[in-house]
Amino acid sequence: MLELFELPAWRLAEMMRSGKVTALDIVESVLERIEERETELHCYNEVYKEEAIREAEEIDRQRKAGEDLPLLAGIPIALKDNICVRGKEITCSSKILRSFVSPYDATVVQRIKSQKMIIIGRTNMDEFAMGSSTENSAYGITRNPLDTSRVPGGSSGGSAAAVASGEAIVALGSDTGGSIRQPAAFCGVVGLKPTYGLVSRYGLIAFASSLDQIGPITKDVRDAALILGVIAGKDDRDSTSLPVDVPRYEDALGDTLDGMRIGVMEGYDAEGVSEEVVSAMEEVIEIFRTIGVDVKKVNLPYMEYALPCYYIIAPAEASSNLARYDGVQYGMSEDGVGNIRELYRKVRTAGFGDEVKRRIMMGTYVLSSGYYDAFYLKAQKVRTLIRQDFERAFENVDVIIGPTSPTVAFSIGERTANPISMYLSDIFTIPVNLAGISAISVPVFRGDGLPVGIHIMGKVLGEMDILRVSYRLEQELKERGLYHGV
């Protein structure tokens, strides 16, 4: 018998509608699970226990009174600690924002609230979303629930670990270079990064403005489709928000793959990609071939430049976005400081962690006088070439698959001494953010090993395609026993 916290949202929603369980049952199940595992895993920076219970009770009361409730009403959702919730502390897992309470709701939060979902807490992350292991948090690391000696990935490690361990039913993360997909892969859950501009960034504490997107981290593809449907869509408060109609994403699930063409990234078996990952990839390719889908290799020649390109653009934008943290308006500050320059330096030096400082330095440098052309401008041009690679490829295929990360979850402390080795774990996810396209990670479980994330990339506004393919893959994996979920 499965516990409620082990079930996906769509299942729980059905059960609530049919009266089998109440919202309170679900919340209590999740809170108990948190009791059980949180001390060891540290998925959350804060759990909103009392509120969640109150809200669940209210929803149950409304349902009993016969009120018409949205599909996902009462489903608890965890939010990454960089999504603003009015009246709640929000820190981006940084000291510099400790005690900062947001006076407004992010747009995605407004949408979640209008669906009457229950925000159960804010999850741990790499500080300011800079990292791939959640080891850069100022509030302690998060452990991978599948193997607590390993990292959950990052920067949305807390969200992924929460969903994987049952400490959350569904969660939101943010993805700038892979921060939703890579932790989803490491923790064996599903993570989706929407097309840039599909989900509003208003209320997402910015890391790199031209790369950030909020997306769902869920137990299965159906949940990802449902949550995406809640948060996607034009927002007048975000100028980079796409003015498009949002389809019913769940309509893509179960669609036949007839006529679809799947591209496989060349280089998925290159040096640096571990054996387990390569063999999982090959198994997946074989699955697609078996079910009769056209699979062909695609060449993306500029992909090898994605990493340096990203590590110029993202820190550059970040250095500007993080300049506002200075001890003046909110967050950490210092008393009795002589002059304002001193205040700035003291607060920022004490408030930011090492990786954040490294990236601010890097970003400041590539934008500085004399270097802008050689670095920032150049990187933005190479970015165009990378985008064009994808555009060309998508003329011949509908989706492109590859590994989400070159390895499975690595050990805690394994890469912290060498930042570049850490950066390399995002080598497959980064190009997606640079191009602004859509992508989802689906986990493959083989034997007792750790899961391998399969990365399915679609074109701009190609969410229906990637959901269709990933859903089918999920079904096939289930049948073959390569799936750990429900």
Binding site: G203, L204, T240, S320, I340, L367, Y376
Partner: protein, 477 residues
């Protein structure tokens, strides 16, 4: 040694939109309690994002058109990064290489010299700093206070080519620019309140030699201050060169109380603003339809209004004054509806009326005199009901009470006496009462005549028509 001067001006004008450049907060911040006019966007709270105010763009385009600029079909915003407490995001959203308009020009109204306009662009204003010291100056403060009400108010920056060769040209330009933005309805161009700010770049060089080092001047808060500052700085630079020194490229503040420019050196090393395109905004596209709409609805420009006023019978000088001060020109246009001699109206406005306004320190529209009332007063003079001299008295009363001229004339009994028999009576009395004066006149002291006229006027309390008095007195004396 003959020195030549090169001056360029950078003018910032606050736009008269209702809301700020990137958010829905009000632009009406003057006199408001601090930090009551703010939102996550203009405060730069984490997670906030900007959205462009359409009207601000329209206003900027109006300015670009009025200044004969090339309008770029595509322009975009940049971030200018630096740390300062009045800058909430630690960057200002502005424009950089591709502004709204560029390569324009303006013809100065008096000297008729053409000044090039390098560029016009949109940017957001910063918050306000208050320094709690006796002088309110930053140099004496041990701490400061920040008010973000003004942060995010839309500005246009107008950069001129370094075409000015004298401070008076610069002043002429600034006054005309102010008049233009007022007539366009996009800014009230008030230097004292800060809705128009001006920085200058000044250099001198010996005639025939290379251009000198540019010095930036800031903190000139009025037309007079601009002229004074430029004159001072030119002299300072010349003196420096003459005494063998070198002009340093720096920024200097104009100190109105000390009447000199002060170096701001001792600040940190030159700023590196690390400009890059603002990723939270997309490019501005200006299409022909939009431009056509804006051109169609362009208000009358000062140059055209001047011409039109002159064609109404007013002198160029008078026309210029009424155009430089838009509110006066507006009042004049209204008053002309009530009295058909434009020249007389203009003279009154620029004479007695302006006199009273300056004394009271108020704008013409804030006075109690309505244009219709002024028109009526002039009609009363025209039809002889009151004399010009009496009219001045009546106007004075109108200015303080706002009463209709007819009412005042009636109450004070100021109707001009034109009845000759009445005047004759008074003249007879005056002649009888001043036999010595009469004798002096006949003896040849012709000036005594005016004294006698004065006596008649006095006796009638100024109400007699002076021409009639003269005639009668002439006959009777």
């Amino acid at each position: 040694m003959e020195y030549e001067t090169v001056i360029g001006l950078e003018v910032h004008c606050q736009l008269l939109t209702d809301s700020k450049l990137f958010c829905g907060c009000s632009t009406d911040y003057i006199g408001k309690e601090p930090n009551t006019n703010v939102c996550p966007v203009c405060l730069g709270l984490p997670g906030s994002l900007p959205v462009l105010n359409k009207k601000a763009l329209e206003f900027a385009l109006r300015a670009a058109i009025a200044l004969n600029c090339e309008i770029l079909p595509y322009s975009h915003f940049y971030r200018k990064n630096y740390f300062y407490p009045d800058l909430p995001k630690a960057y200002q959203i502005t424009q950089y290489d591709i502004p709204v308009g560029r390569n324009g020009w303006i013809e100065l109204p008096y000297s008729h010299k053409r000044i090039g306009i390098t560029r016009i662009h949109l940017e957001e204003d910063a918050g306000k700093l208050v320094h709690p010291t006796k002088t309110g100056r930053i140099e004496h403060a041990t701490y400061s206070l920040v008010d973000y009400n003004r942060a995010g108010v839309p500005l246009i920056e107008i950069v001129s080519e370094p075409d000015f060769t004298s401070p008076s040209e610069a002043k002429e330009y600034l006054m005309e620019l102010r008049s233009i933005v007022q007539h366009l309805g996009i800014s009230d161009g008030n230097m004292e309140l800060g809705s128009m700010r001006c920085d200058a770049n000044v250099s001198v060089h010996k005639k025939g030699e290379r251009l000198g080092v540019k010095v930036e001047l800031k903190n000139m808060n009025s037309f007079k201050a601009l002229e004074r500052a430029l004159n001072y700085e030119i002299e300072r630079q010349i003196e420096l060169i003459e005494s063998g020194g070198e002009v340093e490229q720096e920024t200097r503040h104009w100190s109105e109380p000390e009447r000199k420019t002060i170096s701001l050196r001792g600040k940190e090393e030159a700023q590196d603003y690390r400009y890059f395109p603002e990723p939270d905004l997309l490019p501005i596209y200006v299409n022909d339809i939009m431009l056509k709409e804006i051109k169609k609805s362009m208000p009358e420009l000062p140059a055209d209004r001047r011409k039109r006023f002159v064609s109404m019978g007013i002198g160029e000088k008078e026309a210029s004054i009424m155009v430089i001060e838009k509110s006066i020109g507006d009042y004049f246009e209204e008053a002309v509806k009530y009295f058909d001699d434009a020249k007389i109206i203009a003279n009154w406005i620029l004479g007695d009326f302006l006199g009273e306004l300056n004394k009271a320190g108020m704008d013409i529209w804030d006075s109690k005199v309505k244009p219709s009332q002024l028109g009526r007063l002039l009609t009363l003079i025209k039809n002889g009901t009151i004399s010009g001299k009496i009219a001045k008295k009546v106007f004075s009363i109108m200015f303080s009470t706002g009463e209709d001229p007819d009412k005042i004339v009636k109450r004070e009994g100021l109707v001009q006496i034109v009845d000759t028999s009445e005047i004759e009576k008074v003249v007879d009395e005056v002649l009888r009462a001043n036999p010595d004066a009469v004798e002096s006149y006949h003896k040849g002291k012709v000036n005594i005549f005016n004294f006698l006229v004065g006596q008649v006027m006095k006796a009638t309390r100024g109400k007699a028509n002076p021409n009639v008095v003269r005639d009668i007195l002439q006959k009777k004396i």
